[in-house]
Symmetry: C3
Subunit: 389 residues, 3 copies
Amino acid sequence: GSSGFSVESADKKNSIKLRGLLQADSRNYFSDDNPDINNEYTLRRVRPRLQGTFFNIFDFDINTDFAPAAAVVQDAFINARIQPWFQVQAGKFKVPVSLERIQSGGDLRFVERSYVSDSIAPNRDVGLQIHGNVLNEKLNYAVGVFDGQFDGQSNGSNRDNVANADGKEIAVRVFATPFKGEDSVLEGLGFGLSATRANGSDQAVGDSYRTPGQRNIFAYNGATLTDGDKTRFSPQAYYYNGPFGLITEYIKSDTDVVRGANSDKISNDAWQIAASWVLTGENNSFRGITPKRDFDLNAGTWGAWELAVRYHQLNVDDKVFEGPAATRYASATSTTEKASSWGLGVNWYLNKNLKVQTTYEQTSFDSGVAGVQDLEDEKVLFTRLQVAF
Amino acid sequence: GSSGFSVESADKKNSIKLRGLLQADSRNYFSDDNPDINNEYTLRRVRPRLQGTFFNIFDFDINTDFAPAAAVVQDAFINARIQPWFQVQAGKFKVPVSLERIQSGGDLRFVERSYVSDSIAPNRDVGLQIHGNVLNEKLNYAVGVFDGQFDGQSNGSNRDNVANADGKEIAVRVFATPFKGEDSVLEGLGFGLSATRANGSDQAVGDSYRTPGQRNIFAYNGATLTDGDKTRFSPQAYYYNGPFGLITEYIKSDTDVVRGANSDKISNDAWQIAASWVLTGENNSFRGITPKRDFDLNAGTWGAWELAVRYHQLNVDDKVFEGPAATRYASATSTTEKASSWGLGVNWYLNKNLKVQTTYEQTSFDSGVAGVQDLEDEKVLFTRLQVAF
Amino acid sequence: GSSGFSVESADKKNSIKLRGLLQADSRNYFSDDNPDINNEYTLRRVRPRLQGTFFNIFDFDINTDFAPAAAVVQDAFINARIQPWFQVQAGKFKVPVSLERIQSGGDLRFVERSYVSDSIAPNRDVGLQIHGNVLNEKLNYAVGVFDGQFDGQSNGSNRDNVANADGKEIAVRVFATPFKGEDSVLEGLGFGLSATRANGSDQAVGDSYRTPGQRNIFAYNGATLTDGDKTRFSPQAYYYNGPFGLITEYIKSDTDVVRGANSDKISNDAWQIAASWVLTGENNSFRGITPKRDFDLNAGTWGAWELAVRYHQLNVDDKVFEGPAATRYASATSTTEKASSWGLGVNWYLNKNLKVQTTYEQTSFDSGVAGVQDLEDEKVLFTRLQVAF
């Protein structure tokens, strides 16, 4: 089925589910003067996944990923649903910051996420979170404490306390769907706010930003160290109505840094707005789209088709490019202070398990270093074949 | 069962299968002057595997492997069986070149594959393939486009475009079984032809050749770069009749290389011929052998027994050893221009899931470098205990 | 269920079981002057596991682990239960040495194992073992031959013959439960003896010892090589009676080493004694504890609670610290000749699948190097949330 294959224990009190997500992508880069950018076929996500529930209260999730060169675990957590409004979750899971990050990798409308979630928001981390739904399920909250991750990073080694020393990163998120379940044109409206805060010093700042084409365009110099607070702040919203869907979010990341004699608070930010329209009339949603009629050559039915359009932007603080290379906060090869991308997507849902996705994304860059030219526009065409269950 | 354990979705339209392949090997090297060659116990394949079908048309396969130091995915693909004669497959899978490579790692008659598939043919790659059976299922064809792999290599990182820059590697294979399903002494005859072609430059030539005992005996110098075309060509055949089986194939790999001021087309090749005889009368086949009577001490039945014999040879182009070490194409430690191996195998099929395999393989080497002695003969005895389902 | 979810083949002759173990830990270090010791959240074990049986005789076990930075396989073996008293096991599995090592990672009474199994006994290795139960199942024996592992090490790469060259490591263990199944106060008594022996030379001695807080405190200098025999010897016992449980073991590891002109037999040892008491009256056992009443807020039931206490000690031979750093066997940063730890644990079994574990462990160190101060006491509080099935 669309949500896995179940096996129950003999006493019916417990169950597990086998799930999977497989994405085979092609990436074509156009007009690339840069010989380092190669067209390629790649496995983007290969995720056998084991979920389960014990005694109707305790859930677990083990979501492995074989797309990286060495297999890793993306999610590995236990969630105790003590009450709908009071749940305790521990292990490795998505830090509750970016809206698009919380959307499953199999439900994305574009082949790659926007700058908000791909570059600035943290990805997964190991920690403990209290969360739940209150006010008639119209408000979802999450408060968590984590090892702490730099912008765009995941707790990869499962061993390192990345952001700071003995401290932790606190993450808070509230998200409201005030008209949920009501007969209103705003039924599909959701909006929220998230924030993180960590404190650390003397560690290399590991923030790393990249383009839709998955090329790194920004990193700090190895001598640029943390020197106090790291905070993030992100307002976010979505709206779904019939075949129409809209998602928008903003994120700002402030980091106290020091390099040699210089120290500053660096403010980087990003935002995105994306809309999609299901041409074949199915209901749009934050999760996936289920075709009314599955693709079937004999029956002459063609599944669901969706058009999507997006604009997103990344802004790096001017201060990181100031001064000569020998004292600059940014790495020597990082010169871009602004990246602006627009994307166009055509998504074909053959049935609830199969999807073919095509995204074209074009990015222009503004150099932040005097005398250094803007990077050439990135023009990339993605094609994805996906199985999800 | 011999082909996995199935779980169906509630609506019976979809199913998944859990499969596995586990091989525990011992390797004993005889008369080895070389202290670097150690006898060892090793896990050769540890492959939990998830296969499935959606809507009776879309297959997927996720074949993981935990035998390497870090777990990898061997196969991860989606196959759309639009028609028996028109199927589209995308993801990571075996490049359709060598006959023995296409044979499953659990069905091999010798513990390690021959030079044809282990040294020269590519292994797995990420790409897209059109394939199918035509002419009453008597002709199988496959045409694929892949990232491109050097001889004996697999797309290991899932990220790199190995063989060439923006280009791709094209692979084509046709294989005929003209008497399939007929009452003929040639019913079990199959023969075919495969070829690959890629074009690239300025990359270190990553071809790497090794002995049956899994020791590397050939690599290029790091300064030897690709400089144009890389093509392969491989005629191949098998024949099965009752308890008898025969497999033979040849492969030639031509690579345009350059090192400093010198450039050349290098032609390396390999061939093998292997025969097997099922002593207990079961039918031989390209796939596995299913014993008529399972091993059972109480019933006094002993499963199936098979004898196998093989000869194979690897030839490296003389040109790679010409000149002084400072300008030679081959790496400084590569001196063998010819390796010739004969092998003897005894295979015990306890039942459709269990197999005990013993292979003895002896290899003699010819030095291609003037004044350098031939390597000492390699004599290796393998024992394998295998579970497959 | 507590022991996995089963799927049977259609012919009922074969079955597989899906199992899992997930542990999310927090580690808090107190009074640490050392800035390298960070509090952290960490995934300790993330182990999807596939077990099965074919023809009621052949078992297999594939126990993967995604807690390390790159996923590995912990166990991968085939066991042929030819007779209860004659079983043949091949692949990668726990070397039959330490009693606590043989206890499953999900059944431990303390968050980390003692010095006996964590530092000195080998962990997993690849090899072949004959084992079984004799004398009315009152005596268990195991005799195995393995690649060979240094103290505290596992066969991690699956490729290397760690302990010695062409030789192997032999391991033997006998364990008696003479009153098993009898109506006796000694019904739950078990005691045994294990030993290993390997021979090798010219390899860096890879023994590595660590604290309960998982910090490495001892390693040899890279120039200290094996120079003959490596033997281990370990008497061991447990006793379970109603809610009470006791486990104790000793281990001694003798290694012939050489560094430059010096050579010696080094004798390191460790011992532990640990007791636990199930406060809620359930039966204690070497395996897990199953609560009489599952945790249920509505029913007002609280599962099972257990108190545990332990003392253990590690002794490193004085000889490794003798002489100047330039010729000493120990590494330059290894200065501890004795580590003594006491631990206190509170374990809460919510039901047969969920466990919350808290361990406090305090360790004092004695320096073995003249003029070098003892390491500061390690004080660590572990909390673990565990799902096992």
